[in-house]
Symmetry: D2
Subunit: 132 residues, 4 copies
């Protein structure tokens, strides 16, 4: 595990049915992208979220907020920066910046708090292997 890695960028191309009839990425889809950002950050740290679930360690979104500044459009290539901003015993806060890759314009800034739970939905401590 790369013990200092707390931020990473991924690229996402907007899919056709993710844009609505205004021609812009629907606000509900951003959360799918942010989850991809968390997953890839975790993978870069050496952990597959899929394996965590198999070990009965699940992460659920407890809180979220976003500010939408500029629209993303179908077929745009976006750059998502995902950053860990706070690590608690059973919670992790992330911040996200989604930009248009070509223009560099900031489209959306967002934050989430995820909680570590078991399959019964009970809060459990984040395993040490992840916290490191």
């Amino acid at each position: 595990m790369t013990d200092k890695l707390t931020s990473m960028d991924i690229e996402i191309r907007v899919r056709y049915p993710e844009a609505d009839q205004m021609g812009v990425l629907h606000h509900s889809r951003y959360w799918v992208y942010f989850e991809m950002g968390r997953t890839e950050l975790l993978r870069a740290q050496g952990v597959a979220y899929r394996d965590l679930e198999e070990m009965n360690v699940l992460f659920v979104v407890a809180k979220c907020s976003a500010a939408f500044k500029m629209p993303a459009r179908y077929d745009d290539v976006l750059t998502l920066t995902t950053r860990i901003t706070k690590m608690g015993a059973a919670r992790i806060d992330h911040a996200y910046e989604l930009r248009n890759k070509d223009t560099g314009m900031l489209l959306c800034a967002a934050e989430t708090t995820i909680a570590c739970v078991n399959r019964d939905g009970e809060i459990i401590p984040i395993p040490d292997s992840i916290k490191e």
Copy 2:
């Protein structure tokens, strides 16, 4: 269980993000509607699909086909007719007709074959309680 009920109608209003930037219901969403049709037909027969899954009886789509004739648009109210066309030992065939409720125009005709499996994905006989 109503032992002769093999067809039923439900109404569905097209949601905003289900329409794409052409302003029409994306073809991928129709399958979500057809699944709702199957679920409500089953419920009308006295069975909640949720309860089946808890009894380790799952239905998976094995085959499907559709002909798209006219577009559905955001906020349109649609009438979906779901009909059982064939019942096998471990498979059920359904046919679907999706119409615009206001105009009665046929938008899509489709068919699916669903297979009965357990949680390990093995084909199992459809329980008698459903076949009746």
Copy 3:
């Protein structure tokens, strides 16, 4: 237009593919429900959002936040309360409470700020016909 109507309830049944492999409504789908709440509140006030778009009056989500308290599951029937909390020249704030209809338990509390724009994305005043 019913000039005092600033809150309303709608019922939504969780669809199969809206639940993820944890068996719970994915956090991205809540925003689709909240948008349905806004649409039905507007319709109860005598305005179809579809007609607004045809008049070049669009509403886009500028900010949002949510706290997820309890999971919703496939086939659960939910009650969504949508309430206008603030009306500006070109912005409307809504608050949402999503409850399990059977138990009454609060699943999610959320807020959005929507901005009124034209088809070019420029901020425009909310038409008087809506503000009344």
Copy 4:
């Protein structure tokens, strides 16, 4: 334009909310992947579908069929092969094979017929620049 290119492969990783509570890719999502396959095949031929829409040339799905053979799971990397099987004056038929990249197992075989229309939904000839 590469005038002989009638087939191509893309890789797609299954996203978390694309799997349902059975833990498998929901059958409705395959159509989103197949559309991505068509788009990337077109792009490899030198045409961005986005630009076609701006020139009032749209492709809509007229018919589709699929056979689902094996499930795809969350975080699986899939290989999608998209192939043009027939080219008419105003229609294009594609065939798709979706495989698990690691195992090479065939998960789904499918076909679509897309029709070329203008923004009013009228059938129009496929532009020569694409047919070549």
